[in-house]
């Protein structure tokens, strides 16, 4: 009976499978995108925020770095170089822990940064690696958002304690201290917080794993406020492995407290330091206990000790001296007298979040800042920046029309910058240029002039930077008589017009427009926000200690979009959830947010994308995470906002931040989300995550280059990431997906003739890779090619085979690079010599046939090469160059044949046993003569450095060949004269060999004939060339 049931079920399943077969083909990201790969170009010149530093307990060379939005990085050389080891997972890191009893293998990562500024990203749980960071497994706490601490029993790898801080933007029931006794399989809650109070720090007594200290912090953010502290904030101690906890506040101030820091000295575990946040400034700052927390003495309330507890609550004790402590802070400070007095740390980037003392030498100190990792070798007096951590946190990106195009954007605490999309030798630190200070946000290049706009927080300054004159003017609008105070978002809305090059927009609660690059401004709207007074109390925001940095400013315009099809059609989105539209250049405005179905009220409007296809079409993305709502809200309207349709699907794993419409295919959309990039090829019916060399980083903004077709992503933690030439995606449809092989149309490849000088960075500096200069052959494979032969050949218009390429064999889109070069000539055989290596020469422009052979099946397509239209190198001159190269090519092959004949002659003579015949002397003489002769034709001795042999004829020809081939110019008279000379030398050499063969060698041949030995034979020239 059971068998029968199963058979029935199988039939049912097979029917449903048959039905499914008629459904449209849906592919996962790895299947669709094939070999399309993201290119991570950093930069690392300004790096980004570091959240946690940890080192191997016995190997000082191994250092781990947790970052705010760039995942986990590992160094095996004491910080000279780092590699990313957490690409596929949540990139916001709260804490790291290395198992003291198995430090080579067991690493724990708690996701979700705990330095709770307005722009931080939530995590998605706890991860564990058992192979030093190569593979990771999630170990629970999916709802934790922010994990603050991990403590491992040094005597038992399976016993781990975790401190969960919990959600920043709403209630959380996973907050507290947890313990596992089985390596993470199951967890027991030891100390609960409440819906708004979580564990902000958990430390273990280094001598007794049963003694634990846990700080709990009551905190909350909204889009418009921050609250640190409350009556539930407290510091606890357990002496029985977490079963029982006692509040240890003897000596602390009474009443509501904020965030604590806590540290235990490794050299004396009775010594504790704590940082206390109190509304009584005189009682805030550093406390010390000498009796393991029984009592506390207030030691210091210096600025650096009490500053911004939510951002800097960490104190680190020298593992060899309990009286040396470093307090993280705005600039950080160090005490060498047990906390009584402090002095500042040496100059480095501001905002220090963590410190790591080298395990062997306390003068070596690593610090994690808002601008990357720094290292001091002299006990914190001077610091050197690590130059290869590309964890920069972009808010925005825009592009220009230069060739190569430049990339503009602003970053968290690291100003605004622009740099090239490619550069000779790779994109180096020196290629990036600062164009604004402070926290940078939006930056644009003027469409036609050498002018750049950038800004800093809260609209405090908009810069207009004249690149030609190197002049900066600050141009933001000021209130006029009768105006209320302007409210600007921390990340203020600044936008250039797609229709009028000199027009720019700027948004407070009002929309401003300037037609003269910011010299004069016109207010073209009423207050477009909700103007809700409840959302405007930033002056008292902060909780126990006021923190009014401007980051919580709300009821402001956040995004502006002028339609590229109609300059009078402008969209505005606000941070309190309004979507406003004007059709008459700002004379009248309509709030259309109520027409959007399923969107919670007051959800932050992150971006509006005005369509380039239809005036009435626009896309809007809303970010609910400020209200603890991580659903993606992505909508489309086709009727100027009267109706909206959700185009978000369950495939999108986290909240959305940005959307970009393709310029060619209106069904192709790119979605930036908190956990990476999603692409749809069917207008939003299905979304596919792009993961090829693309980390799960938060994508804040997307730009698409109209000529290069590159998709450029501003990530908040992994810098700028480019997907070069997305044009194949425009051509994918169901018909294509059904084919075994489909070639995509490609734009003509411009033959690359520019300088390749560059690449002066040192080994330890990050260099962003360039796009390939090669021609791209793009095709779709329905299935990966694993068995049987597959080749890719290229033929010119005469049907001659001119090259091969290594075919891509992935399922999905394959992009094969073809370097469009001709094989170098067959070279005379000699010793390997660097002066005798012939370079490959480029093929001429023209149409080339691509032939893909896959087993027995043959597929064909075409590809076009063109010369750079801007090149001054005329076709006539190109012909002269090609002619001389061909002559040098032929001369080289003739010389190769001549050397081959010499080698064969010597071999022939050496193979004969002359016994005591007098011919033996002749043979010896000829052999010596031929070897000496050969040495004038090709190098056969010496080295490739300072003991090099005198060049032979081959090396002279090679020198001329490479020079003529490498120049982007017609050959000069010098080159022709030299060619004539080398050709003359060759003719003379040919005659010389002929002469030897006609005279002395005849005696050898006669001897061979007389003794019935084989006669001398030689391959014909054509046969020789077939080698």
């Amino acid at each position: 009976m059971k068998v029968f049931n199963v058979i029935l079920l199988l039939i049912t399943l097979s029917i449903s499978l048959n039905n499914y077969a008629q459904e449209p083909i849906k592919l996962t990201g790895d299947e669709l995108f094939g070999t399309m790969k993201a290119r991570q170009i950093g930069p690392a010149v300004m790096s980004g925020r570091i959240t946690d530093l940890e080192g191997h307990p016995t190997n000082a060379k191994v250092i781990y770095v947790g970052t705010a939005g760039g995942g986990v990085w590992k160094s095996l050389d004491g910080g000279t170089s780092f590699n990313s080891i957490f690409d596929d997972y949540n990139q916001s890191i709260g804490c790291l822990a290395i198992d003291p009893s198995n430090p080579d293998n067991i690493i724990w990562v708690g996701t979700g940064e705990t330095w709770t500024r307005n722009s931080i990203s939530p995590g998605d749980g706890l991860y564990k690696s058992t192979d030093g960071g190569t593979n990771w497994k999630k170990m629970g706490f999916e709802k934790s958002d922010h994990i603050s601490s991990i403590q491992i029993n040094p005597k038992n790898s399976n016993e781990v304690f975790v401190g969960v801080l919990g959600p920043l933007w709403g209630d959380g029931d996973e907050r507290g201290v947890y313990k596992t006794s089985d390596g993470g399989a199951t967890w027991e809650k030891l100390l609960a917080g409440n819906l708004s109070t979580g564990c902000s720090d958990l430390v273990m007594d280094p001598k007794d794993p049963n003694i634990l200290y846990a700080s709990f912090w009551e905190f909350r953010r909204t889009a418009y406020s921050f609250s640190s502290g409350g009556l539930n904030s407290a510091l606890y101690k357990s002496i029985d492995g977490g079963k029982n906890w006692q509040k240890i506040h003897n000596g602390f101030p009474e009443g509501a407290l904020g965030r604590f820091a806590i540290a235990v000295a490794q050299t004396n575990s009775n010594i504790l330091y704590s940082i206390v946040e109190s509304n009584d400034r005189s009682k805030s700052g550093l406390y010390r206990s000498e009796d393991a927390g029984e009592s506390w003495i207030h030691l210091n309330k210096n600025f650096e000790l009490a500053v911004r507890p939510f951002y800097f609550s960490r104190i680190v004790i020298d593992p060899r001296n309990e009286n040396t402590v470093i307090k993280c802070g705005l600039f950080g400070s160090i005490s060498r007298d047990g906390g009584k007095t402090f002095k500042g740390l040496g100059p480095q980037h501001a905002d220090i979040h963590d410190i790591w003392f080298d395990i062997n030498n306390s003068d070596i100190i690593y610090s994690g800042t808002d601008g990357g990792v720094y290292c001091s070798y002299d006990g914190a007096t001077t610091f050197d920046m690590v130059d290869n951590l590309p964890v920069s946190q972009y808010y925005h990106v825009s592009l220009d029309n230069e060739e190569p195009y430049n990339i503009y954007g602003g970053l968290q605490d690291n100003g605004s910058w622009y740099g090239p999309s490619e550069s000779p030798g790779g994109i180096e630190a020196r290629d990036w240029h600062p164009i604004g200070g402070g926290d940078g946000f939006r930056a644009f290049r003027h469409a036609t002039k050498n002018i750049i706009y950038s800004e800093i927080y809260n609209g405090e300054a908009v810069y207009r930077y004249d690149l030609d004159k190197n002049i900066i003017n600050t141009i933001h609008p000021f209130p006029a008589e009768g105006d209320p105070k302007f409210r600007y978002n921390w990340n203020t809305a600044l936008q250039v017009s797609p229709n009028k090059p000199d027009r720019i927009y700027f948004g407070s609660q009002f929309l401003f427009k300037s037609e003269d690059m910011g010299d004069t401004w016109e207010k073209i709207s009423p207050d477009l926000s909700t103007n809700d007074p409840k959302r405007q109390n930033q002056a008292v925001s902060g909780g126990v200690s006021v923190d009014n940095s401007g980051a919580e400013m709300n009821t402001t315009i956040f995004c502006i979009a002028e339609s590229p099809l109609d300059e009078n059609l402008i969209w505005v989105g606000t941070d309190d959830g309004n979507v406003q539209i004007t059709l008459d250049g700002g004379k009248s405005w309509t709030n259309v947010v109520s027409n959007i179905p399923g969107l919670p009220k007051n959800t932050w409007c992150n971006h509006i994308e005005a369509s380039t296809f239809n005036k009435g079409t626009a896309y809007a993305v809303f970010d609910g995470h400020y209200s603890n709502d991580k659903n993606p809200y992505v909508y489309k309207t086709t009727d100027f906002g009267k109706t909206w349709k959700s185009i978000a699907t369950s495939e999108i794993a986290s909240f959305a931040r940005h959307i970009k419409e393709d310029y060619v295919n209106e069904n192709l959309l790119y979605l930036g989300t908190e956990m990476g990039l999603y692409i749809t090829i069917d207008g939003g019916k299905n979304w596919i995550k792009f993961t090829n060399n693309m980390p799960a980083a938060s994508v804040h903004y997307i730009a698409l280059h109209p000529k290069k077709h590159d998709l450029v992503l501003a990530t908040h933690g992994r810098g700028i990431i480019i997907i070069d030439d997305i044009s194949p995606l425009r051509q994918i449809n169901q018909e294509v997906l059904k084919k075994d092989v489909h070639f995509f149309e490609t734009k003509p490849t411009v033959i690359w003739e520019q300088s390749s000088f560059g690449g002066n960075s040192t080994f330890s500096q990050f260099v962003g890779s360039n796009p390939s200069r090669d021609a791209k052959i793009m095709y779709y494979l329905q299935k990966r090619h694993t068995f049987g032969k597959m080749t890719l050949e290229l033929f010119n218009s005469n049907g001659e085979l001119v090259g091969t390429a290594d075919p891509g064999m992935k399922k999905g889109v394959n992009i094969v690079n073809w370097d469009y070069t001709v094989k170098p000539p067959i070279s005379p055989k000699g010793q390997f010599n660097r002066k005798g290596i012939f370079m490959s020469t480029q093929l001429p422009e023209g149409d080339y046939k691509v032939v893909l052979t896959k087993g027995k099946d043959v597929y064909e397509s075409n590809i076009k090469l063109i010369y750079d239209p801007k090149s001054s190198f005329s076709l006539e001159d190109r012909k002269l160059k090609a002619t001389l190269i061909k002559e040098l090519f032929d001369l080289t092959q003739q010389l190769a044949y001549l050397v081959y004949e010499i080698d064969e002659t010597i071999s022939y003579i050496n193979a004969i046993d002359f016994g005591k015949d007098k011919t033996k002397k002749v043979a010896n003489d000829i052999t010596i003569e031929l070897n000496e002769f050969k040495n004038t034709l090709v190098v056969n001795s010496g080295d490739n450095y300072v003991q090099a042999a005198e060049p032979g004829l081959k090396e002279y020809i090679c020198d001329l060949y490479n020079l003529v081939a490498g120049n982007t110019a017609k050959p000069s008279n010098t080159h022709y004269n030299n060619y004539k000379m080398q050709k003359g030398k060759f003719e003379a050499a040919k005659e010389k060999l002929a002469s030897i063969k006609k005279t002395d060698f005849k005696k050898i041949e006669k001897y061979a004939e007389k003794n019935s030995l084989p006669s001398f034979t030689l391959k014909g020239f054509e046969e020789f060339l077939k080698q």
Binding site: L9, L13, L27, D104, R784, D806, F832, F838, M839
Partner: protein, 247 residues
């Protein structure tokens, strides 16, 4: 309720049908590529290959056996021994002096330890003391794969014995590896993940070999090595392995 039970039963059957152990995957791999007996008869393998470079196609001859190995390349007519090992001494040509030079002790020792992996690290792996662990299924290049962790004899890195693990991705349909990943443990690239992709499996005397592999570092473009032919148990001049003292 009944439907739920049926579904549960079916899921269980599917699970059992799909369940694979690491040993079963390896058995199928050898079964599909010629059989263990044939693999065990291999004493030497020569790959005649080429790589495309900026100075044209460079022919490579890669020979490997239990007692020695070499890699020779021919650059524009000039043959260079890039690497050779005679069972005791590993060496290669210095491209500046054009003289043979011995590899450092540690490299030589690691090459010696890797002899056990010939002709395939999965062959007789238990006898060699290697361990294989099935980590699960993962899609690679759009293809469902079994992910296997292979732990071999430890290697020496800066004088310290370190675990020597590689991750093999076996195509779940054909049971041949299409990707091998391993952490680079020494040199300036240490900490990066090396990747080798395999394709173009073709038959040679009843055994199947990958005729195209692409090697590189994860995140960067790889270099394809195209195999023109594979010779099983070829006659090889043993003197080619030996370090040329006076050359």
């Amino acid at each position: 309720m009944k439907r739920i039970t049926l579904l549960a039963a079916f899921s269980l059957i599917c699970l059992l049908a799909n369940a694979q152990t690491a040993d079963e995957i390896i058995e199928k791999y050898f079964e599909n590529t010629g059989g263990k007996d044939a693999w065990n008869k291999i004493t030497g393998l020569q790959y005649n290959a080429s790589v495309n470079t900026q100075i044209g196609e460079i022919p490579l001859v890669m020979y490997n056996s239990k007692s020695g190995s070499y890699v020779k390349m021919t650059v524009q007519g000039n043959e260079i021994t890039q690497f050779a090992f005679d069972g005791e001494t590993a060496w290669g040509m210095n491209m500046m002096s054009m003289q043979a030079e011995k590899q450092d002790n540690e490299t030589t020792e690691n090459v010696k330890r890797a002899l056990k992996e010939f002709p395939d690290p999965f062959l007789n792996s238990k006898e060699n003391g290697f361990t294989i662990e099935l980590l699960g299924k993962e899609a690679i290049e759009g293809t469902d794969c079994f992910k296997l962790k292979l732990t071999k004899q430890p290697t020496l890195v800066d004088g310290v014995e370190v675990e020597n693990t590689s991750y093999y991705y076996f195509d779940a349909e054909n049971y041949v590896p299409i990707l091998v990943e391993a952490e680079i443990k020494s040199g300036p690239a240490k900490g990066n993940i090396s990747q080798t992709f395999f394709s173009n499996y073709q038959e040679v005397n009843g055994l199947y070999f990958s005729f195209s592999f692409t090697q590189g570092v994860k995140g960067y473009p790889g270099q394809a090595i195209n195999i023109k032919s594979v010779e099983i148990n070829p006659e090889v001049n043993q003197s080619l392995f030996i370090f040329p003292e006076n050359k």
